[in-house]
């Protein structure tokens, strides 16, 4: 049974799966902008852009505020931070495990060599 977090992350992944929506997010990292401004930058209809904006809004990746006729968009990066927390955890996890693997192999050789070197020492 998927948790609420799962479903929210699924929405985030779905939202950023589309190149236009990724471009909209990139645009918003530079500051708030209006739906009209966004539409002017992409080779698609205002309605088309509007649909993409709605998907991002539903995923919690942006918020909208209406000022007169303009709809201003603000990036909300927190859901992306949730999605990247997983990556951060496992980066450390696997880094440490690979370091542990190297250390273990080195220890194996050290143990293996000890009796032999002792024998050599005794022979002297």
């Amino acid at each position: 049974m998927p948790s609420t977090v799962d479903r929210r992350l699924d929405n985030v992944y779905a939202a950023i799966a589309d190149p236009t929506r990724r471009a909209i997010i990139q645009l918003l990292t530079r500051g708030d902008t209006t739906v009209g401004d966004v539409a002017a930058r992409f080779p698609m209809s205002f309605n088309g852009v509007s649909k993409h904006v709605k998907v991002l809004e539903n995923a919690g990746l942006l918020t909208r505020r209406v000022a007169g006729r303009e709809h201003w968009l603000t990036l909300e990066p927190e859901p992306l931070a949730d999605a990247t927390r997983w990556l951060e955890h496992y980066r450390d996890f696997w880094d440490a495990s690979l370091a542990g693997l190297e250390e273990m192999l080195a220890d194996e050789d050290a143990v293996r060599q000890t009796p032999a070197s002792r024998r050599r020492a005794r022979r002297r």
Binding site: S3, N11, I16, A17, R22, P77, A81, G100, L101
Partner: protein, 148 residues
């Protein structure tokens, strides 16, 4: 929303280990060895059971110095065993929200040493194809925003 599959995050970790590929590879299929080297982040002890064949399962329990006494359980299934060059398994734990993710490990020959390239994706094994693009390029732009 099937498009969710196409942009799940992917993590790549690399390390050159100064031992031959066979030895580095075999350690991943050996319960006793896994228990010795899988000690990430505050793990003081690990117990491991493995059934190292394609379709076989493993179970790794890690006990953390500050964590729950019952430990953190990681389970998975071996998906591909191609000694000594490639290994793949599914990976499930509380840190993957208990859903199946996929780990692929490549062992590359580097003049007697082994470069290990470990790729961990949040995608389940059956959805692994064609997803790579999307996640990494977005992070570059958003990282600035997150840290400000």
């Amino acid at each position: 929303m099937t498009s969710a599959k196409s942009s799940a995050p992917t993590l790549v970790v690399r390390r050159v280990i100064p031992f031959p590929r066979e030895r580095v590879f075999d350690a991943w299929l050996d319960a006793e060895k896994l228990a010795r080297f899988m000690h990430p982040g505050g793990t003081w002890r690990a117990t491991v059971e493995t059934d190292p064949r394609v379709g076989g399962r493993f179970r790794i329990t890690m006990y953390h110095t500050t964590g729950a006494p019952e430990g953190v359980i990681h389970t998975g299934e071996y998906l591909l065993i191609d000694r000594p060059s490639r290994l793949s398994f599914s990976w499930i734990s509380v840190n993957t929200d208990n859903r199946a993710t996929t780990v692929v490990i490549e062992f590359l020959e580097r003049a007697g040493a082994t470069e290990v390239v470990l790729t961990h994706t949040q995608l389940p094994p059956n959805q692994i194809e064609g997803h790579r693009k999307g996640w990494s390029d977005i992070l570059a732009g958003v990282a600035t925003e997150l840290s400000s």
